[in-house]
């Protein structure tokens, strides 16, 4: 018997005319690992919410067709009643945390579904240990890194021992190794797993089946081997291997970090004696495990932090796109939001919006956009300032491969005008955009192009 099924599901959010899902039929069998692909706004997150019963109960809207999970019709069964059968890990772990300490947070779902009291904490600890976060059990949630928090949220979902595990872009804040670990763990559970992802390459290795959504419709539902062929033929951006660009070495140094150290707390250095030159015409990419100090280095280069030891010499103006820029929205229209950095110059802001594929959306409210679209607005907000040093911290989060390719092309096409520093956990993007990769986890810099060409 299928764990979950959708029959001719069509759904439109309230006050939206266009449906987010159109005539979707899907059957999820026991033990399958289904990779859900599609461009930003194609309906992946909506389908995940429909399988969790949150659509239509939490969001309202127009719902046609039928979704059954564990034999129960989601129209007559509230999401809370489905909890335990289904568990969901949402995109942004910070916005799903209820408690202030890790073990209590993991125990929350177990309490809700009526687990015997004496079994709650042992199950919570077991689940934390299973995701490699057992040592975090007594830590305050506020002290965790993004990657650690994502593990804790996964532990919260796994603790329920669900038949259907829904993961909505679960690796967006993880470094490649941690992401691989998480996906392997999810695949080994024995539960049916649905993973919505924008970075398909690593999930394809553990998935058994691929579903591709386009404008709310299922255009592919096939075993993974067949899906690889289809992607190569019909959606090459989703199957393409990263190709290193032609090597370019920069000219003048725009920003020079010399023996820089920085600590947020007196007892632990985050950056220790780093030396780095960022040159005009060059795209440098900063990679490394979660918590190694990539964002701190980026902020030091952009002048948002001052080093405790060492020096940062910046020649010209810097602009930086911070992580999670969708949260930092100030104005109520896209063009006004982007124009903030250029003294309200709306024509210039509109050109910047067009450069990130958002022409025609100028009057929309930034908070009405999907997370991927918000990232692009934020990108336009820094590109519009035409800085001498452009610093981008995780610019591809929530972006589909086509947009990533376009962003990489844009950064490379305009790289001559400035020095560019990109912080990313996205291996493919790093390879595609970088002239030079600086691995903070290792002592020496490596030139990606040189390495790729042997």
């Amino acid at each position: 018997m299928a764990v979950a099924q959708a029959e001719r599901l069509t759904f439109a959010y309230p006050d939206r005319r266009e449906p987010a899902l159109r005539d979707v039929s899907l059957q999820l069998e026991e033990g399958e690992v289904v990779l859900l692909l599609g461009a930003s706004g194609s309906g992946k997150s909506t389908l995940v919410r429909a399988l969790a019963g949150l659509v239509p109960h939490f969001h309202g809207g127009r719902f046609e067709g039928r979704v059954e999970v564990g034999g129960r019709d989601t129209r007559s069964c509230r999401p809370a009643e489905l909890a335990g059968t289904v568990a969901t890990l949402f995109q942004d772990p910070e916005e799903q945390v209820v408690f202030t300490h890790v073990a209590r947070e993991v125990a929350f779902g177990l309490e809700n579904v009526g687990t015997p009291p004496e079994a709650i904490l042992p199950r919570a600890i077991r689940s934390l240990t299973a995701v490699g976060a057992g040592h975090l059990a007594d830590r305050p949630v506020a002290q965790l890194s993004g990657g650690e928090l994502q593990r804790v949220c996964l532990a919260s979902a796994l603790a329920l021992d669900p038949r259907l595990l829904l993961l909505d872009e679960p690796t967006s804040q993880l470094d490649p190794e941690a992401a691989d670990d998480l996906l392997e763990l999810a695949a080994e559970l024995g539960s049916t797993v649905v993973v919505s992802e924008q970075r398909p390459e690593r999930v394809l290795d553990v998935a058994t089946r691929v579903v591709f959504l386009d404008a709310g419709r299922v255009v592919l539902d096939a075993p993974v081997d067949e899906a690889r062929g289809w992607l190569g033929a019909h959606r090459p951006d989703w199957a393409r291997k990263a190709v290193p660009p032609d090597p370019r070495s920069g000219s003048d140094v725009v920003c020079r970090l010399r023996h820089v150290s920085y600590a947020y707390r007196a007892d632990s250095l985050v950056v220790d004696g780093l030396t780095l030159d960022l040159r005009c015409g060059e795209v440098a990419v900063l990679v490394g495990p979660n918590g190694v100090g990539k964002t701190t280095v980026a902020k030091l280069a952009a002048g948002l932090l001052q080093p405790a030891v060492g020096s940062v010499d910046l020649h010209g103006r810097a602009a930086m796109l911070l992580q999670d820029p969708g949260r930092h929205v100030v104005r109520e229209r896209l063009d006004a939001e982007v124009a903030l950095g250029v003294g309200g110059d709306l024509p210039r802001a509109r050109r910047a919006l067009a450069s990130v594929g958002l022409a025609g959306h100028e009057q929309r409210h930034p908070r009405d956009l999907s997370s991927g679209e918000r990232e692009r607005v934020a990108l336009a907000s820094v590109l519009v300032t035409e800085p001498d040093l452009l610093v981008l911290d995780e610019p591809t989060r929530g972006m589909d491969p086509t947009r990533k390719r376009e962003l990489a092309a844009h950064l490379r096409a305009t790289a001559e005008a400035r020095a560019t520093l990109v912080v990313t956990n996205d291996r493919t993007f790093a390879t595609t955009v970088g002239d030079r990769i600086v691995n903070l986890g290792e002592s020496a810099e490596q030139n990606l192009v040189a390495a790729a060409h042997g």
Binding site: L54, A83, D324
Partner: protein, 232 residues
């Protein structure tokens, strides 16, 4: 100490400060609560302490002008329409100080609750009105969350070359912060529903047993209320 015992102590301190009749007694309660707040990390405590200080000071300044008390003027001002003759008396100043200290004691008790009480254990220990307790615990987290969001917003704007200086510029961030807070609240509510919140058959982690210190705290809390009503 159990969360409920700590909460009883803080509640008793608030009750005693409201029942007490002597300024020195209320000042002593406020001082003790201030010392408790100092146990919290410096970075976390300042919004609460500044908020309490500003509101208490405002009450101290305003009270003499809206109260009519005593016959020993310290200062006599002009006649203002509606309000009449403005003056400040010794008695009004004493009353203003008393009210300001009361407000400070209540504010500091809330600060001590927000800064030192383990909200997770509080929610876990709530045998009744658990939804309300959870609501209060989440609302208490709003202050540090808003503070973090504000810092992120300012940093994000600096990254775009927009300086956020001056009261007017900072005030303009209130609206986006509230909008972000509402959005965060909606997302949290969705995640809670997906995790089974609101199901009737919920259980909870067994509470730790009562210890001598917990019983002593409850007795001290009761005594504080009685002493506040009769002697302080």
């Amino acid at each position: 100490m159990r969360t409920s015992a700590a909460l009883a102590l803080l509640g008793a301190a608030v009750a005693a400060s409201l029942l007490a009749r002597h300024t020195a007694s209320v000042a002593a309660i406020a001082l003790v609560l201030f010392l408790v707040c100092l146990r919290a990390p410096r970075g976390r405590r300042w919004p609460y302490l500044i908020g309490t200080a500003v509101s208490s000071l405002a009450l101290f300044v305003v009270t003499p002008f809206v109260e009519t008390l005593g016959s020993h003027p310290v200062w006599t001002g002009p006649i203002v329409p509606v309000l009449g003759q403005l003056d400040v008396t010794h008695e009004e100043l004493a009353s203003a100080l008393f009210q300001a200290l009361r407000l400070a004691a209540v504010g500091l008790a809330f600060a001590a609750y927000a800064l030192t009480v383990d909200h997770d254990r509080l929610v876990g220990a709530a045998a009744v009105a658990r939804r309300s307790v959870l609501g209060v615990a989440l609302a208490t987290r709003l202050v540090p969350t808003l503070e973090r969001d504000a810092a992120g917003l300012v940093e994000s704007l600096r990254g775009r070359g927009v300086a956020v200086e001056g009261l007017r510029r900072r005030a303009s961030l209130v609206s986006p912060l509230l909008a972000g807070s509402l959005e965060r609240g909606l997302n949290l509510a969705e995640a809670m529903e997906a995790r089974g919140y609101g199901r009737p058959s919920r259980t909870r982690i067994p509470s730790a047993p009562w210890r001598a210190i917990d019983r002593a705290a409850i007795l001290v809390a009761l005594a504080l209320v009685v002493v506040g009503a009769t002697w302080l």
